[in-house]
């Protein structure tokens, strides 16, 4: 059954801070930049914002936790945002990626709890080697992996991708199509970290290997920055500066997995499908209705898994589906039209949400997909706790 609140909430403003490898100011100020830009974009006054929600988690265990520097929590925005004197509602989630926070905001608006909700995702890039394992003691589940030299997320993704390639016959040159397509799109996105750097097929094939079959260009580019979205109710949305992007449906992965420490490719259809089947059911739409798909690419194979789990193609077919211009801006299903995390920068899926909003409101500039009336953003790896949102141009 189609969701009763379909089209009753909308995104009305987008704000992006500077995205860089090493920011000149603390993360908290980047978050304020993004939030203020989202309000200005919508033409909404800061004091009208009475709802707040984020997913502040750090990219890996052991990163710092100083508010406004290593992460930006709801408390930071209450203290420093200059928003409504008494915020009516807030939430801060710890699982399910930023779309899960976004979904909470939708609930708050749909229930009439508040009028305007800010959703933001701020990402800090800690000093030193990203995600390095430095401890000589391995406790908990890591005692079964770290003593064996397995402690980096890219190793889990490398294992899953190797099995995918072996099972379905995919090769690195097939992935080159996906990764260079994202780069071409980033070259049309001024906010992207790799805006001015093109990537050729040869560049991809000659990339330094990280954890075979994953190369450097299969891993997203860690950055510092923040993107904020302003949400409101459907009736308020029509009187503001921008065309609204209506929320048509959403989903969260809620299937049981054998273990989170071993990232097995075999789970991708069930776990990804747990999210997308709910989105299709709520919205009454399906893969054929989607004008542009923003599919998480913290590691490039995740985009393959999403294409299959969401039903854009069959199981094991994504490596063929992405060929022949099918995912290019003018193709049958444009994918990661902003460059993805691979080329815009790793904002843990917030870039995917913002781009889906731009595409359905005709605001994507040189990378605008023609007649894009529905765009889906699926965040997180399909086998892990993930979530997604479907936006439409009409309620």
């Amino acid at each position: 059954m189609t969701w009763a609140s379909r089209g009753k909430t909308a995104v009305v403003g987008i704000g992006t801070s500077k995205i860089s490898r090493k920011a000149e100011k603390p993360l908290g100020l980047l978050a304020l930049d993004a939030c203020r830009a989202a309000l200005e974009d919508a033409g909404v006054k800061p004091e009208e914002v009475d709802g707040l929600v984020t997913y502040p988690d750090q990219p890996f265990l052991g990163a710092g936790n100083r508010d406004g520097e290593d992460l930006v929590t709801v408390n930071f925005l209450i203290d420093h945002g200059g928003l409504a004197k008494d915020i009516k509602w807030y939430s801060q989630i710890s699982s399910g990626m930023i779309p899960s926070a976004f979904i909470e905001g939708v609930h708050a608006l749909a229930s009439g709890t508040c009028n305007y909700v800010l959703v933001w995702r701020a990402m800090h890039l800690p000093q030193g080697t990203y995600g390095a394992w430095r401890s000589n003691r391995a406790g908990g589940d890591t005692q079964f992996t770290a003593p064996f030299g397995a402690a980096n997320p890219f190793q889990w993704h490398g294992l899953a991708y190797q099995r995918y390639m072996d099972t379905y016959g995919a090769k690195r040159e097939h992935m080159a199509t996906l990764v260079t397509n994202s780069r071409r799109n980033a070259n049309l996105n001024e906010a992207a970290y790799f805006y001015s750097q093109p990537m050729s097929f040869e560049d991809y094939m000659n990339a330094r290997m990280i954890s075979d079959p994953l190369s450097l260009f299969d891993c997203d580019i860690p950055v510092e920055g923040c993107i904020a979205l302003l949400l409101t109710t459907g009736d308020r949305a029509t009187g503001l500066k921008q065309k609204p992007a209506y929320i048509a449906g959403f989903g969260q992965q809620a299937t049981k997995r054998p273990s989170l420490t071993t990232y097995t490719m075999d789970d991708h259809m069930i776990c990804g499908g747990s999210t997308t089947s709910k989105i299709w059911e709520m919205s009454g739409l399906g893969p054929k209705d989607i004008g542009a798909a923003q599919l998480y690419d913290g590691f490039s194979p995740s985009t393959y898994y999403w294409l299959e789990a969401a039903g854009f193609c069959g199981r094991g077919e994504a490596w063929q589906f992405v060929q022949d211009g099918r995912i290019a801006l003018e193709g049958e299903l444009p994918v990661n039209t902003f460059g993805g995390s691979l080329s815009e920068g790793r904002l843990h899926g917030m870039g995917h949400l913002a781009e889906a909003v731009r595409q359905v409101t005709g605001r994507a500039g040189p990378r605008q997909v023609v007649d894009c009336h529905a765009s889906i953003a699926l965040d997180g790896s399909p086998m892990l706790r993930n979530a997604g949102i479907l936006f439409t141009s009409e309620p």
């Binding site: 401890s135 003691r137 290997m209 273990s259 071993t262």
Partner: protein, 138 residues
């Protein structure tokens, strides 16, 4: 680049101690549910399959096959800086689908194939711990 970082050693807890006690005696034991027979690895407080708290340890064959492998090129894990490239394998034990154990193979994965049979061997490391390791066999 220093090549002398200490390698991570297990920090057992009451749940995992029997696993390391067994490996020290060169026996591979995996947590097994007394109610439903499901093997849980890493060990759990409650069975993944049936939620029973009645969990013990049972010896397994050590036979299995390569589930997948990846060639590690980065010097981002303490104690393994001077070992790259090496190959991280996931071994699927014959007792149960997706009962997966990590293993380390020197080198860049030459000659390793998914579904290849493996054999168990024992690697003593620091502090008296013994790792159950696997290598592919022809």
């Amino acid at each position: 680049m220093p090549d002398t970082s200490p390698r991570p050693v297990p920090a057992p807890d009451p749940l995992t101690q029997p696993f390391w006690d067994a490996t020290a005696a060169h026996r591979l034991e995996i947590q097994r549910c007394a109610a439903c027979g499901y093997y849980n690895h890493p060990p759990k407080r409650l069975c993944d399959q049936c939620t029973s708290p009645d969990l013990g340890y049972a010896e397994v064959s050590g036979r299995g096959k390569v589930y997948s492998f990846t060639v590690m090129r980065q010097t981002s894990i303490a104690g393994f800086e001077d070992k790259v490239p090496y190959t991280t394998m996931l071994v699927e034990l014959e007792e149960q689908p997706q009962l997966l154990l990590a293993a380390t193979v020197p080198g860049a994965g030459d000659g390793i194939a998914i579904n290849q049979p493996v054999e168990l061997w024992w690697e003593p490391i620091e502090d008296g711990f013994v790792l159950p390791q696997f290598r592919p066999i022809a």
